[in-house]
Amino acid sequence: MTTNDLTGQGPSRRMVLTGMGAGLLASAAMPAVVWAQGAPIKLGFQLHRTGIGAAYGHWYERTAQAALKVVNDAGGIAGRPVEIIFEDDGTDPARGAEVVDKLVNQHGVDMVFGPLFSHVVMGSAPRAGELKVPYLVCSEGYHVASGALNRWTLQPGITDVRSQIASMAPWVAANLGKKVTMVYPDYAFGYDHRDFFTAAIAAQGGEVIAQIAIPPTETTFTRYLPQIPAETEVLYHVMVGPAVLTFVKELGEFYGTGPKPQLFGFIDSLEAVDFATPGLEFLEGTHFWEAHNRVKQADAGEFETAYRAAVGVDDNGASVSDAADVATYSHMFSVWETLFVIKAGIEASGYAGPADRQKFVEALEAMTDMPLSAEHPQGAKRFNGKTHQVFGVQNISQVQGGKLMRVHQTTIEDGLYDDAVDYTTMAF
């Protein structure tokens, strides 16, 4: 700034004011410039906020918000801030397809992620394919790797049921028994269990002696239980929906204090349910599959600790603010990991906008190993670009003193199987 000619002293009041005014204008104009350069990346989240998947939706949303905060605090994706737009699908396949449409055409999102229930994924994925928008599911179903879906649908955040089962069947046959009765939901997700476990246990010299399918909307279960043959050594149970607690309670009442087979359950039968609920005492000593240990294990490392704190879950697997609000801990990590896969994919592909969606999918297909890290707190993973499916470690836990303690962990190799499809050869 120049000095006043007449007095030889500092700048005049007028000049200072002018300068300040100019500065004010510049600073007011500045954010607009920054915004134009780093317009937020908009991600659509297909959320089971209501309907039979609501218990999961509640925690999927919370996990997505926590991961989003971590991403934005660290500078966003490729220097751009990130926004997530949540849209409720009512855990309904028809509405699921509408939600994909709405997110893409109305909200203008860059890509869609987040659905869990397999019937919603099956109903929505074709629409995502038509709209040519990346659709990243967090659903465990074998539908992605089976080849039933399309080039735009990927599952980079959670291992599929087929792999989970293949990796655990040897342990079940060796430690629990070889004559198995299965109880599973009567739709796609349950059939994955039925088909792959039946095959996997046969490969171990075991046998499934009865298959009991239960409609997912059923509210009372005692009537199905007498179908369990008396010679059953292992009862394999997996249930989903609002009545899971009723199912397990009635199972306990049915066996009572009498002799019962070994129980091996998928934690789905008790996700979001407190093991201390009266009526569940009979589960003591039984085994469960867990993708991600609900109870913080003694060997938990820094990534696990940081993740647990970020999503607000205490050492027992419940919300830090409400001990009765039990997390869907074995599934929700997939939302966290998927968001970080999206980040890696966008940064690797140089994605700038919807025109680059194909480049983004190709970048994901090129991914392979994902080491245990803050981005992948559940464990190391290996992505198969051909089948669009990721593979990770699985845990078998035993209820000890009312808490799920890990007794066995599988390796990634335990869960690998031959590719059934090569999506990379399909057209976009």
Binding site: R49, T50, G51, I52, A54, A55, G57, H58, P215, E218, T219, T220, T222, R223, Y224, L225, P226, A230, P242, A243, L245, T246, K249, E250, G252, E253, F254, Y255, G256, T257, G258, A272, T277, P278, G279
Partner: protein, 292 residues
Amino acid sequence: MGFGPFLLLALLEGTVAAAVLALTAVGLSLVFGVMRVVNVAHGEFFMLGAVVAWFVAAAVPGHAAMGFMLALVVAPLVVAGVAALADWLVLKRLNYDPEATIVATIGLLYILQQSALTFFGPTPRPVEAPFTWRIQTPWFGYSGYKLFVVLAAIAILLAVWAFMTRTRAGLVMRATQVDRQTARAFGINVDRVYAGTFALGAGLAAVAAVLVVPVSQAHYLMGGDPLLLSFIVVIIGGLGSLRGTLVAALVIGLGDGVISMFFSPTLAKIIATLLVALVLVFRPQGLFGAKA
């Protein structure tokens, strides 16, 4: 499991289903009988009963039985209050026109369901049973609480029967059922009778829900099944006939228990629906209904 124990378990399950169904369906039948209103929102009153029971049980500290007993009193009263309000605000303004009230109660169904979703949330929540005593037979265990449900339902149904046949209020209700105009001519406040009937019907659904909630769980979508089954029972038994409703509830409940256990639950539903179709074709007034 041998045939004997298998049948015993099927009958036990069927009896519990029949007891709960009878309570719910009697409420629906009363409302239709006295008011000629087909209450499509009946299942939502059932749901509301379970939801209120959860709030009451969660608010009461101490032993689970305390919360449950309080819920058994409070929930039906709250639900009856909501129903009386709905009658005064909506049904009365429509002059109880049969077609209009069907549409209105469909609207009520959505209002109640979405309110529950908003204020209670989408997660199913358990209410603890007042006691955990269990019967252990040599073949299977069975919840003692479920037997309590049957006894409680019988007691409440007897009370309803005594109310309808032994009290002045019951007499007034029956008089209104027979002829609304004549009842009014004899100085009966028909508006008050209607509000009371609608409240009683909803209250009965709520009682059934409070009894059931420790074995199922409160959930905002739980009203669908009871509504459907109640309609099946009421149509088979004869709209407006309490005796018919009871008999039909027993037939459907026990039949459902036995058929779903020996064959499949889907077959049980097929047969129940078929029965409704047959009744509608051959005896449209229902097994015990008076000819229209």
